[in-house]
Amino acid sequence: MNEEDLISKKELLELTGISYGQLYRWKRKNLIPEEWFVRKSAFTGQETFFPKDKILQRIERIKNMKDGLSLDELADVFSPSSNIQSMSSAQLIERNIVTSISLALFEEVAGRQETLSFDDILTVYVLQKLLQGGDMTRDEGKMLIAVMREHYGAFASKPCELALVRKMGVPLLFLAESAEQIYFDKDAKWIFRLPLAASIEELKLKLNETEA
């Protein structure tokens, strides 16, 4: 996950088969964030480069989804904020967005709630994903709920990631704008690093799908 791994615009077009028209249309619709257009000097003058992994993954997803959704709907999927503000817990279960088990665990910590805000839905969704993947114990899940509820709002829709580290069986769960440059002593073990942007995209697709 080297941030410096860049791809030139020409290579990008060659690799993905998209045209300049598509690239710039997606930029106008904010499907490709402005920050990803990195200008650097080259022999022909200024050239544009992109963070390679991010842009390739994003273009792949746009190509896969663009037939089903309009560009504006797609823009919403990729934006860290959401149109869907809240949903009732009954609906979330009925529409199969989260399971009753993970919702029950959430309610154990946060108390019983009729409707969940988007951030809370995201919390339950991430919780469920990590529990199902076997990366995390139920007790760590409770820590996750507490961390998300207390601190996720502070990121104000900026991208961030969730990470779990254990040392001698003691878990440390944290949210960070980026966990890229953090180093621990050798007894500490990274259990997972989960960029929330990807989960937000998955969740929005699920919410949109079931709505339609």
Binding site: K10, E14, Y24
Partner: protein, 247 residues
């Protein structure tokens, strides 16, 4: 005359004839005939001005029409902007449609679905439009990104990057009123980079042009052309280097 709007809740009309001042606020309709200064942020459904007006704040309006001069110190946003004369915006401009006969200068970014400029467009940052028609000149200190960009050049246009799907740049016909107004022999355009799917150029100077189908017409001087499908070149055009590419 001094009229203030209601900052929240129901709003009335603001009408000024002659010289007037207002403290800004929320209005239904703002109509100005003469000279007006509005001292703060203004929000309204319709903003109409015959004469000169200045908003010393942010302007948010369903529609703006002005014959004369309109200055907005902050950003401006709304449905449609129509100006005959001069429109100056200190911040960003975002609108559904923009139609200018005269001069528009924006200190920040411009974003619009449709824009038609007869005269001059000056922007100090990136511009984006779905449909752009220019009869005159542009000076953009950044990237102009448009699905369709159609230029008829009068005067000297400058851009850093011109990009989009379909880009057409032609020299303006000498018969037009603007041709005579600008006095220059022929309009021309200078850009660092021009990239699109279909690119047709005349009277253009650019370091790099890239596209699927590229036509380099008379009066062009291009450093490097890269094309995927085809390149047509006028015998009077200068292209230092060209290459067919794979993408």
């Amino acid at each position: 005359m001094n009229i203030n709007g209601n900052p929240n809740g129901t709003s009335g009309d603001l009408k000024m004839t002659g010289n007037g001042q207002s403290g800004g606020g929320a209005f239904r309709n703002v109509k100005i005939m003469g000279d007006a200064i509005i001292h703060a942020d203004t929000e309204c459904e319709m903003f109409k001005c015959l004469g000169n007006s200045e908003v010393k704040g942010v302007l948010q309006a369903g529609s703006v029409s002005c014959t004369g001069t309109l200055k907005v110190a902050g950003s401006a946003s709304g449905g449609s902007f129509r100006t005959q004369g001069e429109l100056r915006i200190g911040g960003d401009l975002s609108a559904q449609s923009v139609s200018i006969s005269g001069v528009m200068s924006v200190d920040g970014r411009v974003s619009a679905e449709k824009a038609k400029i007869t005269g001059e467009l000056r922007a100090n940052a990136d511009c984006q439009m779905e449909e752009l028609v220019v009869r005159g000149m542009v000076d953009v200190n950044g990237m102009l990104n448009a699905e369709q960009a159609d230029f008829k050049l009068h005067g000297h246009s400058r851009l850093r990057e011109l990009v989009g799907s379909r880009i057409t740049v032609k020299k303006g016909s000498g018969m037009s009123l603007f041709g005579k107004l600008f006095m220059g022999p022929d309009g021309m355009l200078t850009a660092e980079t021009i990239e699109g799917d279909t690119v047709e150029l005349e009277n253009t100077k650019a370091a790099v042009v890239r596209g699927r189908s590229v036509t380099i017409g008379a009066g062009c001087s291009i450093g490097l052309v890269e094309y995927k499908d085809e390149l047509k070149q006028d015998p009077e055009a200068v292209v230092s280097q060209s290459a067919k590419t794979e993408w």
